[in-house]
């Protein structure tokens, strides 16, 4: 409960804060609270990997770029009016679609105890036995993304 409140507040902070660096820091807090939710669902492995990958690696790079660009509110170019309208309309459309999709979804209450699926041993067995093909396909996808990034980076 407390965790969810912190998650929501910091998520709002990401959107509302004027300073991009503060936004990124709020996002990091959000990731931590999400990891906390994972732990409460007894998915320790997922929680730690979430912290290592998102908070530990990706957000560091985000912060890195933000600090280098040194953006702030005064330097930000004034957005045109039609851009604001377009943003509002597309955001509203997304909201409508999400509400329509979630209205019929049934959400069985998750039991917070006795699910052993998030523990690393069971997760590994599952990944390498039942879901081995999708797992390998997704890793090839990552590899191609990496090669693509290198190719784009080499151009200049």
């Amino acid at each position: 409960m407390v965790l969810s409140v912190i998650a929501l507040v910091s998520a709002l902070g990401v959107v509302l804060s004027k300073n991009p660096v503060t936004s990124v820091l709020c996002l990091i807090v959000t990731f931590f609270t999400i990891a906390g939710h994972y732990i409460m669902l007894n998915a320790q492995f997922l929680a730690v990997v979430h912290i290592i990958v998102y908070a530990g690696a990706i957000m560091v790079l985000f912060l890195y770029v933000m600090m280098l660009m040194n953006l702030n509110a005064e330097l930000e170019p004034q957005k045109r009016n039609w851009l604001k309208y377009a943003g509002a309309i597309s955001g509203g459309a997304l909201l409508v679609v999400l509400v329509a999709a979630l209205r019929d979804a049934s959400m069985p209450a998750l039991s917070t105890q006795a699910t052993e699926i998030g523990l690393i041993q069971n997760l590994g067995q599952l990944l390498f036995k039942q879901y081995v093909v999708p797992f390998e396909v997704s890793s090839i996808l990552f590899l191609s993304a990496m090669v693509g990034a290198v190719v784009i980076g080499k151009k200049d």
Binding site: V21, L25, I28, Q44, F45, V48, V49, I51, I52, A55, G56, A57, V60, L61, L63, Y64, M67, L68, L119, I120, Q121
Partner: protein
């Protein structure tokens, strides 16, 4: 009455254990500063601190007192909150890792078995890895909030260095995990207690881990983020008084924790040779085991200092080349060889 059913002894025991471990790491970090100067003096054929107390033993206290009483300066154009947050994160993260290290086997006091490990989670190594990856935030936030170009440059160096060296560190750990089949540090130590130490099976992995530990702690020869002759002092340039002290202190705590971690994972932790053949009482054995771990840890701390005063600092491109073009391929090869050997032994 759910309140009464809580195991109060358990909570007291854990609180006590946490405080002891915390105080221990702080004291060791404090005396590491003294040790560092003594080692430097010994290597450079000097005397080192010898004025405050016998053999200069009170020097860390004098330094601490000096840091506390210095004037605190917060730069006008910095963001105040983040400026204070930086060293706080650095210090907190440095203290957090000690939670999953098994400092010894269990003690039996008045019929209760007390494990000398704060939390035996089954993802121990991953927890450490996650906390270590948080450590860079302290430096980054502190460096950026100082609103100083040198600090910013230093924090960017630190970020890219730590991210680069996390990869070979993780790969070296994967090889170790394939061998032990467990992420819990307690299990890893118990396996080494009944078999050979992991360094025998994983010499290359140990070497890679050691080098990466140096880089993650920002220790020489990888102390580029605080290269004073290029950066006027590094990411803590604008810091004064105890906030500077926290940054410096966090480095020594990190050094202590990584030494303890290296001894736990590769050098048998609290296990020592012929441990189970001595026929000693359980409690005595636990205490001896703790002392063994402590001696190993101090040995590694000495090694850290020895390297610092022996090897000159790398240039930044050399650092990156070492990380990406030498360490990662080595770690990958180590992982493949380990996997192939394990497979060959199974058939």
């Amino acid at each position: 009455m759910t309140l009464l059913s809580i195991d109060w002894f358990f909570i007291i025991e854990k609180v006590l254990l946490i405080s002891v471990v915390l105080v221990l790491s702080l004291v060791v970090a404090m005396y590491s500063t003294w040790g560092e100067r003594k080692v430097a003096a010994w290597i450079q054929d000097r005397l080192g601190p010898n004025r405050a107390g016998p053999m200069g033993l009170l020097q860390p206290l004098a330094d601490g007192g000096k840091l506390f009483f210095k004037e605190e300066i917060i730069p006008t154009n910095s963001s105040r909150f983040l400026f204070i947050l930086g060293p706080s994160i650095a210090m907190m993260v440095a203290c957090m890792t000690s939670a999953v290290i098994p400092w010894g086997d269990s003690l039996v006091i008045a019929g209760r078995t007390i494990s000398l490990q704060i939390a035996d989670v089954n993802i121990g190594i991953l927890f450490i890895f996650g906390v270590v990856s948080m450590g860079v935030y302290g430096i980054m936030i502190g460096g950026w909030a100082s609103n100083n170009k040198f600090s910013l440059l230093a924090s960017i160096r630190a970020a890219s260095q730590i991210i680069s060296y996390e990869l070979p560190m993780g790969l070296a750990l994967i090889a170790l995990l394939m061998l032990t089949g467990s992420l819990s540090l307690k299990d890893i130590v118990e396996q080494q207690r009944h078999g050979l130490w992991n360094v025998v099976y994983q010499p290359l992995g140990f070497f890679i881990f050691l080098v990466c530990a140096f880089a993650e702690c920002n220790r020489a020869p990888f102390d580029l983020p605080e290269a004073e002759n290029e950066l006027n002092g590094g990411y803590h340039l604008e810091y004064s008084s105890m906030k500077l002290g926290f940054f410096l202190f966090a480095e020594y705590i990190n050094m202590f924790i990584s030494s303890a971690l290296i001894s736990t994972m590769y050098f048998g932790g609290y296990a020592f040779p012929y441990m189970d053949k001595l026929g000693l009482d359980g409690n005595l054995l636990t205490i001896l085991g703790f002392l063994a771990l402590f001696i190993k840890t101090l040995g590694f701390i000495f090694f850290f200092m020895w390297v610092r005063w022996t090897v000159p600092r790398f240039r930044y491109d050399q650092l990156m080349r070492l990380g990406w073009k030498i360490m990662i391929p080595l770690a990958l090869a180590n992982m493949l060889i380990t996997g192939a050997l394990i497979l060959a032994r199974q058939h």
